[in-house]
């Protein structure tokens, strides 16, 4: 796989070049002072100083709201699918890996989801490896890592002299060759420095799951611990909405007469009405069942369906939960 070095100066030029081919999103400080993927170029300068973005990049592929169909004169019409190329720069390896997981449902699943698929086809993901981790990170416990290339087309590693760019697949190779003039040789010293950066980051992470976690969770289905933890859950939806692998959605019609649209919006299994039947029966009636569903779905059911857990260890749920639930604590208490 091609590995090249780009200077920090040339990085801006790279983004500008990509901007000629499509829409570019790169990290910069937003109005709230937090680093987010914003449309490039913008007033704030590019920054590589961030842990991770508040929101996950899943919104680029599965937006908070999306029109599925338009109704015109009583007939359903499909919306035109996007044609613009999109480039995301600075996506953390955990978030990139999450895309591969959501692909299993939306892209590889039968039938595939045409809206998601089209956006994935039209988007190039340039990842940025982590040199620092946060206390809430645990990617290595769930099959990822700070320098993991799963889900990226090109992986960047920030170094003193510039960024190492490593193509992850054919799409990545094409991108690098298209900007070859901006790139320099990646010397063995550069490659070494990159490896050290990544290894340093890996060393900061502590393991979370046991090798036996799926079986433990299966056995723990009726554990009273679900109640002791679950009763704290407010059902606020923050964890799901920020989670890079949560994909549940609702479908509603916003129609008057014979004109309008059918739209899908993010939904959350922690909401009480999620499983509410019209009859009033709710199979998950209290926060305990819903908390259990969340943890089980990520760490057990997903493994049973897809042979991989659906958590990438990004830590957003832990950092943002208004009452500081930590699913690592829950897993530990359950012996998983």
């Amino acid at each position: 796989m091609t590995e090249k070095l780009i200077s920090h100066t040339n990085l801006d030029r790279l983004l500008a070049r990509l901007g000629e081919r499509g829409r570019v999103y790169a990290p910069a400080r937003d109005e709230a002072g937090e680093v987010a993927l914003g449309e490039w170029p913008q007033n704030e300068p590019l920054t590589l100083e961030y842990g991770n973005f508040r929101q996950s990049p899943k919104a680029f592929f599965l937006p908070q709201n999306q029109t599925l169909l338009y109704l015109q004169e009583g007939q359903w019409q499909e919306p035109g699918l996007p044609v613009r190329e999109t480039f995301l720069f600075g996506v953390r390896p955990c978030d990139a890996r999450a895309l591969l997981l959501v692909d299993k449902v939306f892209l590889d699943g039968d039938p595939n989801d045409p809206y998601y698929t089209r956006l994935r086809e039209k988007t190039t993901v340039i990842g940025l490896a982590c040199a620092q981790t946060m206390p809430s990170c645990f990617c290595t416990s769930v099959g990822g890592g700070p320098g993991d290339a799963a889900g990226v087309d090109v992986l960047a590693v920030a170094l003193e002299t510039g960024l190492l760019l490593r193509a992850g697949n054919a799409k990545g190779e094409d991108l690098l060759s298209s900007v070859a003039g901006l790139l320099a040789e990646a010397t063995p010293a550069v490659l070494q420095a990159a490896e050290e950066r990544i290894r340093d980051a890996e060393d900061q992470l502590a393991p979370v799951l046991t090798a036996d976690s799926v079986r433990r969770l299966r056995e723990a289905y009726d554990s009273p611990l679900w109640e002791t933890a679950g009763q704290k859950c407010l059902g606020c939806g923050t964890c799901s909405f920020l989670c890079p692998t949560c994909y549940c959605f609702d479908i509603t019609d916003e129609i008057r007469g014979s004109v309008g649209r059918r739209v899908r919006t993010w939904d959350c299994c922690a909401y009480a009405p999620f499983t509410l039947h019209g009859s009033g029966h709710n199979p998950r009636p209290t926060p305990k069942e819903r908390w259990r569903q969340r943890v089980m779905h990520k760490f057990r059911y997903a493994v049973e369906s897809f042979a991989v857990s659906f958590c990438v260890g990004c830590g957003r749920c832990i950092r943002n939960c208004p009452i500081s639930m930590d699913l690592r604590t829950a897993l530990k208490e359950l012996g998983a």
């Binding site: 509603t252 129609i255 007469g257 999620f274 499983t275 019209g278």
Partner: protein, 280 residues
């Protein structure tokens, strides 16, 4: 290019007949607006479709017509909420969208060469009508052993598809037993709940598959009865009712354990269900 799975096929209501005495179940006969849609929509008994009314939304309904009933689709709809109330107000000629066919059908291949015990309760009989009609078709009947059908409802007026039932009673290639909780003056068949009738009939589990559709309470006691008669869990087939939205295993609404009821079901064996958390 494959069809967008969220896009309904345009169809029209040809006929809407009231199915039961309390008048809250109507059977709709639908026809596709164009022959291309009709040709694409190939279903098997046990599958369902999402019926679509713009501005109201969608809801899943078991397909009551057999694949051998070529030119139309039948859906029986009980009026219980927003969507079904709206549907009940529609007249023949009204347009309606159909998305499907969706879900896993009854295990047609597994059924070949076996004796069949088909058990239905109340409104859940819809997809069983599709199955029985398909089995009874001259091209198929010889592939199966004996066919025992037990169908129960609260009162005689609540039994569905009474025309079909009358015809089936005359046939000698199936053994049809109808039962009601509360009889009326003209009733001369079983009185009692479905599990009680099973107790009476004592079907043998040898080389037999049991297929059950019914309300939760009927299911519970029927399963107990079947277990007592020696039916192994893998030979008991059930159809699960669940709240659904997309119907294609994406939105997560019908997710139980590692399964999506819309995609991995709604037909499951009892053994498969036993491994799922009891959240339905």
């Amino acid at each position: 290019m494959t069809r967008n799975p969220y896009l309904p096929y345009p169809a029209r209501i040809q006929e809407a007949i009231v199915e039961n005495e309390s008048r809250d179940i109507k059977t709709y006969r639908l026809a596709f607006e164009d022959s291309a849609s009709a040709a694409e929509f190939r279903h098997l008994p046990g599958q369902f479709a999402e019926l679509s009314l713009p501005g109201v939304g969608e809801a899943p309904f078991g397909i009551a017509s057999a694949p051998t009933e070529a030119d139309f689709l039948l859906f029986s709809v009980k009026r219980v909420g927003l969507f079904t109330a709206e549907l009940h107000s529609l007249e023949p000629g009204a347009p309606i969208g159909v998305r499907g066919p969706l879900g896993k059908p009854f295990p047609w291949d597994r059924m070949a060469g076996r004796n069949l015990v088909i058990i239905g309760g109340g409104f859940a009989f819809t997809t069983l009508r599709a199955l029985i009609k398909q089995i009874l078709h001259p091209e198929h009947r010889a592939h199966f052993g004996s066919l025992l059908v037990v169908y129960g409802a609260r009162t005689p007026g609540e039994l569905m598809y009474r025309n079909e039932l009358a015809e089936w009673r005359k046939r000698d290639d199936l053994d049809l037993h109808l039962t009601v909780d509360k009889a009326d003056a003209g009733w001369n068949q079983h009185v009692g709940v479905v599990p009680a009738v099973l107790e009476e009939l004592k079907p043998s589990p040898d080389n037999t598959l049991a297929i059950i559709c019914g309300p939760p309470i009927m299911l519970r006691f029927t399963l107990i009865r079947l277990a007592a008669l020696g039916f192994p869990d893998d030979d008991i087939i059930l159809s699960l009712e669940m709240r659904m939205k997309c119907g294609i295993g994406k939105c997560g609404r019908c997710n139980i354990g590692g399964k999506y009821v819309c995609k991995d079901g709604p037909v499951f064996t009892r053994q498969e269900l036993a491994s799922l958390p009891a959240e339905y």
